[in-house]
């Protein structure tokens, strides 16, 4: 069986075969042979090279969260996830650059007005979550084209806060 996944934004292929109770896994530049033990819906154990490796997993919509040897991975199917993993800003449909909220929270201050010029890394909006203020900054130099939120708004992660018209190069 072959699978393709998106791990931290990069496509990774994995193949999985079972023979005589032993699984052969080929992925990430190497191969491992393992006995695989399903402990529960959220835990499997791979016995490989004499070692037991406990892995914890949980489904989150179309993503699979895996905790492997103390490191957490977000794994999604290569197809389903194309177009996700925004890095905080992105092109909007009409050409502006969208500045998004990095986490859910509450808008507590707007530091620019529509039409203002902005430098790269200039703070545009302050979003508070869990009692800490977080400054959301411009990804590049330009002009504030549109502000989508007002002070007091509760925003979700990835919500567009501001659109910037990039400065002509």
């Amino acid at each position: 069986m072959k699978f393709e996944y998106l791990v931290d934004g990069a496509v990774q292929a994995v193949s999985l075969e079972k023979k005589d109770g032993v699984w052969t896994v080929s992925a990430a530049g190497g191969t491992l042979e393992a006995e695989i033990l399903r402990v529960s819906d959220n835990e499997i154990v791979l016995f490989t090279g004499g070692e037991a490796r406990r892995l914890f997993l949980a489904r989150d919509g179309d993503r699979l969260l895996v905790s492997a040897a103390g490191r957490e991975f977000v794994i999604s199917s290569a197809r389903a996830d194309s177009g996700r993993f925004h890095k905080g800003d992105d092109r909007s449909p009409d050409g502006g650059l969208e500045v998004r909220s990095p986490m859910p929270g509450k808008v507590i201050k707007l530091c620019a007005a529509e039409g203002d010029e902005c430098r790269k890394n200039q703070t545009l909006v302050i979003v508070e979550a869990m009692k800490m203020e977080n400054e959301v900054q411009a990804g590049l130099e330009g002009v504030v084209k549109k502000i989508h939120v007002a002070v007091g708004d509760l925003v979700d992660a990835e919500k567009t806060l501001v659109e910037i018209e990039p400065k002509a190069a």
């Binding site: 069986m1 699978f3 393709e4 791990v7 990774q12 994995v14 193949s15 999985l16 005589d20 109770g21 032993v22 699984w23 896994v25 992925a27 990430a28 530049g29 190497g30 491992l32 393992a34 006995e35 695989i36 033990l37 399903r38 819906d41 959220n42 835990e43 499997i44 791979l46 016995f47 004499g50 037991a52 490796r53 892995l55 914890f56 997993l57 949980a58 489904r59 989150d60 919509g61 179309d62 699979l64 969260l65 895996v66 905790s67 492997a68 040897a69 103390g70 490191r71 794994i75 199917s77 389903a80 990095p102 986490m103 859910p104 929270g105 979550a129 869990m130 009692k131 203020e133 509760l154």
Partner: protein, 506 residues
């Protein structure tokens, strides 16, 4: 005497902690909760629960009137405020007294005195307690800040008069950044404590933060329960605490402990409290402030001294005399605490609210996990991001560090990001293991932290898990297409026969 019913005016792990202590003393508990905390753990554990308003803290956990009404209507005799929210609010302590409720904390006068950091500094100065140079009053005019800062000399630190826990704090190195820092500090202080006043202090670089736990009954007896080393901080927020401090020797410990007691006596303090000191590289220490509450990091003291601080708070509030004196108290072994926050350390510690899809908490000898969460629970965006505290005790510091490292490896939280991966690296850092813990530690060694490098082996394990889950697990969610259902039926639960592990060459 004791109480029959106590209202716990808090949420999260500290409310859970207090509820457990009450239960063990045979005292019934009343939880209060905001709308988004209906199914929070403290509500599930309490004997009764009362709704006190919408999610924002100003509309619920900071609403004195509703909390006092909840206590009255349920017949509670006393209120435990936990930490944060109203814990150090003298007006709340007075309102409780006016309503015939015992406030489990310091008396209102002492609370007011030490809560006003500027007055507290003056009192301590008079009592002969060494203090850090700083403003002697909260200014009425913002222009006074600039003049004071110039007099103290940069760098200076902006501090909230009412608060603690890093809220409202800003270090300022140059005059041009002063006003913005003061304003940000005031906003944060106002939203965290309902009081936006801030003041300035001289900033001492790379000190250790060493605090002494004190207990005072209402009968004139004061003891200290030794120190907590709290130097490992990020954004002035403690993240790892321990006791004993690697920096103290018995002479310095005794001197600082006696100073802490003198400070509390000068303040007319009662109940549990903490005296915070800065300790510089030459062993000079300065009074910083009194934390007039049970502190987040109280468990390290409990594990080292064998004294249950919440229990002592309740007994003291009930009018009991302290059952032990200074000579009865001993430090035994080493305790370390790591704070587990809902923050993503790989994205500059952005808060990470959301649903806890899977939770596995560490357990075992010497491991204590004070947690306010459970699998399936949704972490709200409205409050402090603290989820739990992992505390270990061991015979010596080296073993305690290893035990903590192992316990963090055993801690799995899926669905939200936490500080666990960051803490894993902190407690394994050679400078931490060597006990060279100053407040500059994180900035020096973890400024550019990221979670491991590309690790092909771990990635391979994770990919194997994903492929295996998709090929043989129950189909849940819209995961990638696996093999046909008929293949899926053969899961390892029923088909494991014949494998053997271990032994060379197998």
């Amino acid at each position: 005497m004791s109480f029959k019913k106590i209202l716990v005016a808090n949420r999260g792990e500290i409310a859970v902690r207090v509820i457990r202590a009450c239960r063990e003393m045979g005292i019934r508990t009343v939880a209060v909760y905001s709308e988004c905390d209906r199914r929070s753990l403290h509500v599930l554990l309490a004997d009764e629960a009362v709704s006190i308003g919408p999610a924002p803290a100003v509309d619920s956990y900071l609403r004195m009137d509703r909390i006092i009404e909840a206590a009255r209507s349920t017949g509670a005799e006393a209120v435990h405020p936990g930490y944060g929210f109203l814990a150090e609010n003298a007006a709340f302590a007075r309102a409780c007294a006016d309503a015939g409720l015992v406030f489990i904390g310091p008396n209102a006068d002492a609370l007011e005195l030490v809560g006003d950091k500027v007055r507290a500094r003056r009192t301590m100065e008079k009592a002969g307690v060494p203090i850090i140079p700083g403003m002697s009053a909260v200014p009425s005019d913002k222009a006074e800040f600039a003049a004071a800062a110039r007099k103290l000399g940069y760098p200076v630190i902006v501090k909230a008069s009412a608060g603690g826990g890093g809220k409202g704090m800003r270090i300022v190195h140059e005059e041009k950044d002063l006003l913005a820092a003061v304003e940000a500090g005031m906003r944060e202080a106002g939203s965290a404590f309902g009081d936006s006043s801030v003041y300035l202090e001289k900033y001492i670089a790379e000190p250790r933060h060493v605090e002494f736990q004190v207990l005072a009954d209402g009968h004139g007896n004061v003891v200290h329960l030794f120190e907590r080393e709290c130097s490992i901080q990020r954004r002035h927020q403690k993240i790892v605490e321990e006791s004993p401090s690697p920096a103290l020797n018995p002479v310095l410990r005794s001197k600082m402990g006696e100073t802490a007691k003198r400070a509390m006596l000068a303040a007319g303090y009662t109940n549990a409290g903490t005296v915070e000191f800065l300790l510089d590289a030459d062993g000079r220490f300065y009074f910083m402030e009194v934390n007039a509450r049970l502190q987040v990091e109280h468990p390290v003291t409990e594990l080292v001294t064998g004294v249950d601080l919440v229990r002592q708070q309740i007994l003291a509030a009930a009018g009991d005399k302290l059952a032990f004196d200074q000579d009865d108290l001993r430090q035994r072994g080493q305790a370390i605490e790591c704070r587990i926050y809902a923050e993503d350390p790989s994205r500059n510690f952005l808060p990470s609210a959301g649903k806890v899809l899977f939770l596995k908490e560490p357990c075992g000898p010497g491991i204590r996990n004070d947690s306010g969460i459970y699998g399936g629970w949704e972490v709200p965006v409205h409050y402090d991001p603290i989820l739990a505290k992992l505390i270990v005790w061991a015979e010596d510091r080296e073993t305690a560090c290893r035990r903590m490292a192992a316990a963090l490896d055993d801690y799995a939280v899926l669905g939200i990001r936490t500080t666990i991966p960051f803490l894993r690296d902190v407690v394994r850092h050679p400078e931490f293991l060597a006990g060279r813990t100053t407040t500059a530690f994180i900035g020096k060694h973890f400024a550019a932290w990221s979670e491991g490098g590309p690790d092909e082996e771990k990635t391979r394990l994770a990919l194997a898990a994903a492929a295996y889950a998709d090929s043989s697990g129950p189909a849940r969610g819209g995961g990638p297409a696996g093999p046909a259902a008929s293949e899926r039926a053969e899961t390892p639960w029923t088909s494991l026969g014949g494998w053997r592990i271990g032994g060379p060459g197998e």
